[in-house]
Symmetry: C2
Subunit: 448 residues, 2 copies
């Protein structure tokens, strides 16, 4: 399954937002139900905003305990979802992502405990000072309030999202898709019981799965009630939410990532980085989708890289120069602009030989989705220029694109990887589910 990343050049048409999605009809009863959920989330958020870290961590541990204690019930509900899925003919891969076993439930619970171990972003004093007139100023980190998450049929994300929201002091409104709705209902109920066991409101975690796609749309329009909406899933889901929503959204995940092998590059390093970036995991946003090679390095580097890719089962889509340099036995599918634009999410890689660094940067500028770009080089000047001129969430110098990941970069939890520029960019951690407020203390100071 490939998705065509919306390359920057396509976005430059600047056409008016299509009338279609905005005209999606939401039945009144669904809209009212979802707004009611959002209002209750807003009320719950008030308690969460002033909850201590100790309370929130106790809640996370309770959520973990209650989930494990409820294994039988969760697995039973999950079995019903799986049966429905099989009957509907969903793929083995999707069925697997849907499946909850006792072992997986333990792992999901452990992830909640790990969250509890992380520092609390709420209450951080981002900066502060004392002003000439004596006013004491602090910029304080505070929860956003109500965080919505729309994701696709992965019950572990239900728990993950609830935990991340709670740890950062937010109430969560979750829409996990119909495939896992039975599992999610039970999970959300159990999480609510856990919350109440430590004195927090059950409404801190709510699901709108019961209201279908119209419910998701109603959530996207709940301005003033939802402070941030995070879509997690395929490009279509993300695009729909970004276009449809009137609440703040963070655009996550589309990764048409590039590896550029410069003129002065070590062959072994190039092979290792290209292979890892493409094949370490395939259906993920930080996998490389296009390889660019400086024409001076191509004759040395490409035959080795292409052979290694072929051996790893990767189908190469290349330009004329790539085809000419491919070793015997390594077929190259002729590449078109479609290939430069495509985030394959499979063992496919687009390959292009470029005249120089400028041309590589121009290709990246045109086709990138702004996620991750890597350069392999021994030239300090080339590495510095690449870093300075690439406009993406992450730039790698002699490292795999797969490192664009909250866990890998030591950020603790990760909500998703933002490819937009405002509010959050790159791997989003707990801090990205917060905002700030200014707090000023005086003794009656006024402006003169």
């Amino acid at each position: 399954m490939t998705t065509t990343a919306a390359p920057q050049h396509e976005q430059q048409t600047g056409t008016d937002a299509p009338a279609g999605p905005r005209a999606t009809a939401v039945p009144d009863d669904v809209r009212d139900a979802v707004l009611d959920v959002a209002r209750r989330a807003q009320v719950a958020a008030r308690s969460l905003a002033t909850a201590t870290r100790a309370t929130k961590d106790a809640a996370l541990h309770a959520m973990a305990d209650f989930l494990v204690a409820g294994t039988q019930e969760v697995v039973a509900a999950n079995a019903v979802d799986l049966e429905r899925g099989r009957a509907a003919g969903i793929s083995p891969g999707l069925l697997d992502r849907l499946t909850l076993t006792p072992e997986r439930i333990v792992a999901i619970a452990d992830a909640l405990r790990e969250l509890a171990a992380l520092p609390d972003p709420v209450g951080e004093v981002v900066r502060g000072s004392t002003l000439p007139n004596g006013l004491r100023l602090r910029q304080l980190r505070v929860p956003l309030g109500v965080v919505g998450m729309i994701y696709e049929a992965r019950p572990n994300v239900t728990v993950d999202a609830a935990g991340l929201a709670l740890k950062s002091g937010n109430a969560a409104v979750l829409r996990g898709g119909s495939a896992a709705s039975g599992s999610n209902d039970v999970i959300v109920r159990i999480l609510g019981e856990a919350l109440e066991s430590v004195g927090l409101p059950a409404d801190a975690v709510q699901s709108i799965d019961g209201h279908g796609r119209a419910g998701a749309v109603a959530l996207m329009h709940a301005r003033g009630l939802v402070d941030l909406l995070v879509p997690r899933g395929g490009a279509d889901l993300i695009r729909t939410v970004v276009q449809e929503a009137t609440v703040p959204v963070v655009e996550t995940g589309t990764g048409n990532c590039h590896v550029y092998v410069d003129a002065d590059a070590d062959v072994e390093t190039a092979v290792a980085i290209v292979l890892n970036s493409k094949t370490h995991r395939v259906g993920v946003c930080n996998a490389a989708e296009t390889l660019l090679v400086h024409e001076a390095a191509a004759p040395t580097v490409l035959p080795v890289v292409l052979a290694a890719l072929h051996e790893a089962g990767v189908t190469v889509h290349g330009d004329g120069a790539t085809t000419r340099l491919a070793p015997d036995g390594v077929p190259v599918v002729a590449a078109t602009d479609e290939d430069w634009a495509t985030e394959y999410l499979s063992l496919d890689l687009a390959v292009r030989v470029v005249p120089d660094l400028d041309a590589a940067l121009e290709h990246i500028r045109r086709w990138s989705s702004g996620h991750t770009e890597a350069i392999v080089t021994r030239s300090l000047a080339a590495s510095e220029e690449f870093v300075a001129r690439v406009d993406s969430a992450a730039v790698m110098v002699n490292a795999s694109t797969r490192f664009t990941d909250g866990g890998q970069l030591g950020l603790g939890a990760e909500i998703g990887i933002s490819t937009q520029k405002t509010h959050a960019r790159g791997p989003m951690g707990l801090a990205e589910l917060t905002t700030t407020k200014w707090v000023v203390h005086g003794e009656g100071q006024v402006r003169t």
Copy 2:
């Protein structure tokens, strides 16, 4: 001229975005012209992104010099705008805001020089570390790219906006409204000449004034070309842009600000803060619009405060309790919910007596636009609870609401005051016109 701030409770209807504004027809030629401007801005932004602070500061000084040198031409173009304005019967206040004199041009130029003296936000290393596997990680502050500003008929904002964008490494696309279009055309041309004199592209500052309201709408829809759109002006302008835009927007300015005088409050401090918050400057977003008084303090505080307000020419709109406590000779207009919702932007103040801190917080939660709320109190507990529970961009303890201001809080330049929660909140400085990117250096590290 009053504007009804959209109080939070009104936003809770969560109705779908109205079809009207989204269906605003933009003629093809206007759309093409504006997209062309935006594309050229994007190209110019690439040079700006890697420009040194020295170059940008030289540009700011050149812009200042060229403006002063071009005083005659600017004043002449301004005179034509003023003549048009008089013929159209615009108010004296608006005419004054439109007027450029040689002295004002010097002040505007000086503001550019002050910008040059500020630190460059670009290049800041927000955080960084070395990972267990040896990767060196940096989160680097970088320009957003193309910043659009839509504002109302104030030629000094043209220069201000251009300077702020340039200092933070962005290209600016400006829409200043038709009233000042002649002045703005000349100003933008002069600024372009100044930029070129230091080797920067003139397209770093462009205006779309010539394309009218349709041009502004086209700019709001230029997704992929405009990285941030900042509206500066009245509530109607802001609301239109926020609803219409498909590019990232920062919602600025609507300030239905509150001062709450607690049970244990010093009367003189209360009077000073209320008076300053309401009357120091009147048509501004950080002016107080509603006074809340704890019922225990009301008999002592209100008569004094109301008398002082009356003497300052403020019309009081009050509830029954306020009316009963008003001294002789101080008329009180009966207040309704409309008054709690209204950002008067005039010498009018809504006054309400509340039973306790909880009620004050509930009133604020219901009616506030999320800008600034102040408490006057001697009670530590009350001040801490107020600070913890108010969900606005700024919270003042014993200080005037008028301090919510970039200059006053020592933030350097101020683009506007954001009342939204994502990306920026409160006074926006240069850093809010930037984003970040992750830069990772390795020696060939891959994921295992």
